[in-house]
Symmetry: C2
Subunit: 138 residues, 2 copies
Amino acid sequence: MKEIEQRLTENGVRPTAMRILIYKYMAESEVAIALTDIENAFAKADRTTLFRTLKTFEQKGVVHQIDDGTGVQKYALCETGCNCELEQDLHLHFHCNNCNETVCLTEHKIPNINLPEGYVAEDANLVLKGICEKCSAQ
Amino acid sequence: MKEIEQRLTENGVRPTAMRILIYKYMAESEVAIALTDIENAFAKADRTTLFRTLKTFEQKGVVHQIDDGTGVQKYALCETGCNCELEQDLHLHFHCNNCNETVCLTEHKIPNINLPEGYVAEDANLVLKGICEKCSAQ
DNA sequence: AATTGTAGTGCAACGGAAGTGCATTTATTG
DNA sequence: CAATAAATGCACTTCCGTTGCACTACAATT
Ligand SMILES: [Mn+2]
Ligand SMILES: [Mn+2]
Ligand SMILES: [Zn+2]
Ligand SMILES: [Zn+2]
C-alpha cells in the first residue's frame, strides 16, 4: 500500500484512493488492461475518472499504452525505472487469439530495423499474435 | 483497366464498376488508405458499399489491413503473388508523425522473434513511427 | 425474351469506445 | 478558517466500424 503511494508520488501523481485502487488492480493483473476492464472492476466509480486516471498514469510514466490491434486501448504498468520514451526500451507484446488477452514480454526488446534513406524512427510497436502460454498448455 | 478486372476476377471478386474505381484509386495511392479517404474520393457512393468493398478485397487477398496505431483501419493493395497469411510474408509499416501518412515497406520483412516457451506466433504487426522520407526532405 | 436467383448497392440505424465541458466535491495551503 | 487547486462525476459528443433490410443490377436458366 505504502509502496504504491510512494510510486505514484515519485512520478508526480497524487495518490488518491481511486488511483491507488486502480494501480493495485493493474499490479495484480498479469495481462494488459482496457478501460472497460477497470470499469467492470470498479462499477461505482465514473468512467471519466477511470479514463482520466489512465491518461494521467500514462502521461506520468506510470503505465504505458498498448495497441494490440484489437481496436481497444490497453494499458500495463511500467517496470520500475523503465523509460518507455526511449526507443531501446520498447518491448514487444503478445496478443492471444484464443483467450484474447495481451501480455507484455518485457524481456523481448524490439530489434533494430534498418529503414530506407530518409526515414527516421522515433517509436515502434511490435505485436505478435497467436496462442499464449496458458492456452497452448491446455 | 483490363488488368484490374483480371486481377479482381483472379481473386474471386466480381469486377463491378465501383470496385474497379476503388482498386484504381488505391493503386494510384502511394500510402495506405482509410475508409474515410475513399469516402471523400467517391462522395456519391454510399459508405456501406465502400466499407464492404474493402472487406471483400481483404477477404479475397486483394488488399491487406494495416493497423498503424492511429485507431483508424487502413488498407493497401497486396503485392501480386503476396501471401499475407504466411508469417514470412509480413512486411513492416511506417507511420509518419508529421504528415500522418502510413506506408508499406514491402521490402522490409518482420524479423523472426524468439518467443518464450509455450507461445506460438501466427501473425505479427510491426509499425515504426517517426518522420517519413518526404517530410524529412523538407 | 421472360423468369428466377444471386450478388451488389443504398439507406438508416446501432454500438462501442474515446474524448470534452462544466458543475461539484475533495484536498491542499496560506 | 478562507482561498485555491486538483480530482471526480454527469451529460453529452464524436468518430468509426458494423449490421439489417429493402432495392437494384446482373447472370443464369428455362
Ligand atoms: Mn508492455
Ligand atoms: Mn502493407
Ligand atoms: Zn491465451
Ligand atoms: Zn510524413
